[in-house]
């Protein structure tokens, strides 16, 4: 069976290749043809220079590992989106019903993100004559996973366009971008359409029976609760009451962006990424340490805070507000993170620390982790330069 598919596909590509080569009718789309062909067939290029043996890993494999690690939060996100939607509209939320509802909300977003983003990728590749990069497979999936389920599709299209074009292609494409493209797109939406990206009414999508449009119901996110309500002795009890007990924050059954509510699923993904060596454990652990240390520090210096998130158990910061998703999948993007080992620790630590600082000092931006990562993206080349200088100075000169 597989053999027949292989023979058929081989024949198909061989027959149509001529249209895309020099002088063919579609020669402008050769990078598109090549991208599609290499998805099906590894190219079998022989090494022309020493060393004549090369590692079995390539960028396709590298990025496939990230996609693999994204499966747990994606599936959970689909289920949770459907579950919250059904619960809000009073329907019984069984597993298959929740999955189906979730798919109906999430799949259009993913399709729009991949479709529109791929259009820009293909356009830039055709004009610049460079191959279509596999990195987009990750960007195109990461982006919708960080959106509220009620986001209009056209806004998702605008966001991914901004992310791919301004976040990446204007810098010269994959490997040259300063900011993580998926987060750039999200930040653009966050500041351009705040009404659709923040507040209390965007986190649950409800399909009304009367109208086909997606509307929303009220539901706060844990980080938007910033005052200690009267009648509660401590903030933890108040969160527990609101349905944000530590356990639930960790598992993720609460309204929020599609995939960033479950720290547990992100932990599974992070373990996959660290075990396969695709993401840097230094960044992830550095981030966790930075977050815990900073929130612990805040707890020490301010016993009577304005914002109760200031002296909460650091585990709450770890589990809430998409920090797990950000540090596992966004901060570890190798292009926008530093490349030198000590810099990775510092970079991770700063992201963790900055996340807490933004969250507790400026409650208007519960999106601490997004801003922290983008801000540190800006500094990662500086970290690299400093570390290279320090390491070079430590070498015995050889000129």
């Amino acid at each position: 069976m597989l053999k027949r598919v292989e023979t058929y596909l081989r024949g198909f590509f061989d027959k149509n290749k001529r249209h895309f080569t020099e002088g063919g009718r579609l020669s402008g789309l050769s990078s598109l043809f090549e991208a599609v062909e290499t998805v099906f067939f590894t190219p079998a290029i022989a090494a022309a220079k020493a060393p004549y043996v090369r590692d079995g890993i390539d960028l396709k494999r590298f990025m496939s590992m990230v996609l693999l690690a994204l499966i747990p939060p994606l599936l959970f996100g689909i289920y949770n989106t459907g579950y919250q939607s059904l619960a809000a509209s009073g329907h019984p939320a069984d597993f298959s019903g929740a999955m189906m509802t979730g798919l109906k909300i999430v799949m259009p977003l993913i399709m729009v993100s991949y479709g529109v983003g791929f259009f820009w990728e293909a356009l830039f590749s055709a004009i610049r004559k460079h191959p279509i990069s596999e990195g987009f497979l990750v960007t195109g999936l990461l982006f919708p996973m960080t959106l509220p389920p009620t986001i209009p599709l056209w806004q998702a299209a605008v966001g991914i366009s901004f992310g791919v074009v301004i976040g990446k292609e204007v810098f010269g494409g994959t490997g040259r971008n300063i900011f993580n493209p998926a987060l750039t797109g999200r930040a653009f939406l966050f500041f351009a359409y705040p009404a659709r990206m923040s507040g209390d009414s965007v986190w649950v999508a409800v399909s009304g029976a009367a109208s086909s449009a997606v509307s929303a119901v009220s539901g706060a996110t844990p980080l938007s609760i910033t005052t200690l309500a009267p009648g509660f002795k401590n903030f933890e009890a108040q969160l527990e009451q609101a349905g944000f007990g530590l356990m639930n924050l960790f598992v993720g059954f609460y309204p929020g962006c599609i995939s960033d509510t479950s720290a547990l699923c992100c932990l599974i993904g992070a373990i996959i990424l660290m075990v396969t060596g695709v993401a840097s454990f230094r960044i992830i652990l550095g981030g966790v340490i930075g977050l815990c240390a900073t929130s612990f520090g805040f707890g020490l210096i301010n016993p009577a805070p304005l914002n109760p998130w200031m002296n909460i158990n650091p585990l709450y910061h770890l589990a809430a507000g998409g920090f797990a998703f950000g540090i596992a999948y966004m901060a570890t993007d190798p292009v926008t993170a530093p490349g030198a080992p000590a810099s990775k620790w510092v970079y991770g630590f700063c992201i963790g620390a900055l996340t807490v600082i933004i969250r507790v000092m400026n409650p208007a931006f519960p999106e601490g982790v997004m801003l922290a990562i983008l801000f540190m993206n800006l500094f990662s080349p500086v970290f690299d330069v400093i570390e290279i200088k320090v390491r070079s100075a430590g070498r015995i000169p050889n000129v």
Binding site: A46, D384, S392
Partner: protein
Amino acid sequence: MPMKTIKIKKGWRFNIAGKPNTQEAVMLPQKTVALVVDRIPVKLRLLVKEGDAVNIGSALLADKNNPDLKFLSPGGGRVSAILYGPRRVIEEIVITLDAAENNESFAVFSKETLARTSRDALISELMNRGLWPFLRQLPFRDISDPHITPAAIWVTLGSADPFQPLPQVYVKGQEMAFELGVRALKKLSDRVNLCWYGDMPGDSRFINELVTHRITGRYPATDPGVVLYHTKKTPAENRDWYIDGQDVMRIGQSLKTGTYPVDRIVAFSGGTKDNSRHLKTRLGVRLQDLAAGLPMGPHKQWVAGGLLSGHGTSQDRHLDVYSTSVMVVDVSRQSELFGFLRPGFKKLSRSRALMSAFSSAPLPVNTDMHGEIRPCINCGYCAAVCPVDIPPQFTCKAIWADEIEEALACGLLDCVECGLCSFVCPSKIELAETLRTARKQYHKELHQGA
């Protein structure tokens, strides 16, 4: 002298099928031998022409700048061809062997006469008998400059690369010659460091008396450049000399017998257990003679000098004087359906993103790039394996931007050209080639300036 143990942590321990076993077969040249000229790192002047009769040990070439530095014939017979490559660079001087070959003869040295010889006299003696080119100088790996006294001479006995010949095979029975060779080296430098790899078995008396450093760790731990990087204290040591253990024996034998010894033990690998072993052959052997009697298909890449550190060659060419390892690797021609999604139990990889990470079986290899060239994503895999702590991704970017000073500060000259950075790169960037070319270019500029 107490033995020092040096542990090299970075690098990579690869497990590839077709490791040469300790069996030794004799594979002599069948018709021709050659002096491979394009691997000699100096400008040369021809001393012979086609049709000349030569003996084993007749001078074929001399250094243009130093006519005393000679390169001798590895066979006796007639010069049947002088092969030129692109831009009229001499590639090989091919000698068709006579049935009975004659030897040039040189003075015979004993321990005592060697002890009475001065350093300068020994240097001109070694140059005259074609042995000087075997002594090479870091960091450019050119032929040692006789006008300087190096801080140390490093002798490599055994390699972390399992495709190099084992010293317990080639030293066996030649301990006396080896010792005489070491005595000669001690005339050239106060410190002669003998590096034995790991806990390979060997004559314990020999190891205890002569070996000064025991090297452990992953490929390329035994490279003299790596050992030097991890032991040096001052920049004065950067220009240390090094020599392979087999060539120390060659010096000893030559002094003892007054000839130009042309024996060479080569680790040969055809990719499977049955065609991989140690071969007793000669300098300059035609490569296909090494595979005599073995079935070899047409689509093969011949690599001389180590799987990752060696250079590409072909079966019609001959063995250069520095290579002690020859491998024959299948050229990849098979594309694979959904290759990047397959678990990859049989794909060699240093990363843990393929299932082969969980298997300990030796894996077969071919020349497949396993992917296409992509921009650098700064994953840091290359820096993680570099045995001399160069960050290849940044160093290469400095080279591409013509910032040679920055590349030098990152350690460009410490590079041992092991090839690991190119090997591990998921974007398939030719990092090793970039570093190699930049080093060559810098070397050229230094010499033109002088």
